[in-house]
Amino acid sequence: MTHSSLHPAFILHSRPYSNTSLLLECFTALNGRFPVIAKGVKSKRSETAGLLRPFSPLLIDWRGKGEVKTLTCCEAAAPAIALNKKSLFCGFYINELTMRLLERQGPHARLFELYSASLHKLAGAEEIEPVLRQYERVLLSELGYGLILGQEAETGEPVDPEKHYRYDLEHGPVATTSDAKCSISGRTLLALEHDRQLSREGRREARELMRRVLAHYLGGRPIKSRELFQMQ
């Protein structure tokens, strides 16, 4: 097999399957998210088991016509991304969001690229919140639920950084007063749209907005990874 036929991939989740195999959920640029069985990798002699873990850039190939494929080849593309402590929990959060929201199959090259970049940023001790907000925003837009951040819902006018808005999930920002419940400043909306730095208050507003939007698309079941942050 030539090297070029291998596809860059990440593993989002793995669980045991029969005695020596693993059922993996892979994420690739061209084929999106799909399940793969890695046969016999849990036996003592297999060297692949150490590779097949989340947050490791891999090169893989598979075969099979059904929904569940069979892994035929797996190599490390680069050393595993060293997430620890809080960034590891963020990695779980990103994986959980991707698993829960992204439908199986279908190309997601832009999201894949951002996924990889986000993990590297988390490992590089960058501030975590902007990384998470950017990933959440792009994930939503890949799904076709992109947020309208730059213009007012009713008038279509550009958002004014000095004004305050209430975010309507279906339509977008609607002007309101600054003391209204769940209000979000125009500055925060614009910063989110252009991935710009946020103030402390802006970060809180952005986090609450995203949490509300994601809860809407996730249905009743909350994100389990959030429980990990209680200790912080």
Binding site: F89, G91, N95, E96, I223, K224, E227, L228
Partner: protein
């Protein structure tokens, strides 16, 4: 099926064991019935007794037929060290391999949000109470070197840190008798980062 339903039901039931498929189950069933009836009766009695009477130790959550397992009940064990493991099998493995005199805490799993397993599901509220009692001076995190095991170790480490308890993590690296050339990259980098002064 209609001629010997009980035999087939026995073979079916034996298939619930790990690593036992229909063929091995059939061999076991014939062996028990043709060569070792008393063994079969004894096995059946032991299975029923074990399934009815073995529960979890209310202190360390390992398998035990008493409210407190023999390790927790032993006054000679050192209360100041607490080793956290994922499964009861790992308690046995450590007991047999090394001369550890401290106590254990069995999580029965590891943090894995994607499988719906959060801090509560692995009894971390119980562990927190245990740490609050104040007897534990060192907590040894012996969870597996998977990302989930790592996350679990960090989470518990943070809990210990807040209570000013020393948290240590078991080392992972090259297996004894192994050769560097054949060790995978991840393990090798762990081994390298965890090097010690001679």
């Amino acid at each position: 099926m209609s001629q010997q339903p009980l035999l087939f039901r026995l073979i079916d039931a034996l298939c619930c064991l790990p690593g036992v498929g229909p063929k091995s189950a059939q061999r076991m069933a014939f062996h028990l019935l043709e060569r070792d009836r008393s063994g079969a009766r004894h096995l059946a009695e032991m299975l029923v007794a074990a399934a009815d009477n073995i529960g979890h130790c209310n202190r360390c959550r390992t398998l035990s037929e008493h409210e407190r397992c023999h390790l927790c009940a032993n006054p000679k064990r050192d209360e100041s060290q607490l080793c956290v493991v994922e499964t009861p099998a790992e308690v046995l493995a450590i007991e047999q391999a090394i001369d550890y005199r401290g106590l254990y805490f069995v999580l029965g799993g590891r943090l894995s949000p994607l499988d719906g397993i959060g801090p509560k599901e692995i009894g971390l509220d119980l562990l927190e109470q245990r740490l609050a009692e104040g007897a534990v001076k060192e907590i040894i995190l012996a969870t597996n070197p998977t990302v989930e095991g790592e996350a679990t170790a960090h989470y518990i480490g943070e809990m210990a840190h807040q209570k000013a308890i020393c948290a240590t993590r078991i080392a992972h690296g090259v297996p004894l008798g192994g050769e560097l050339e054949y060790v995978d990259g991840g393990t090798l980098s762990h081994a390298f980062m965890g090097r010690q002064a001679l």
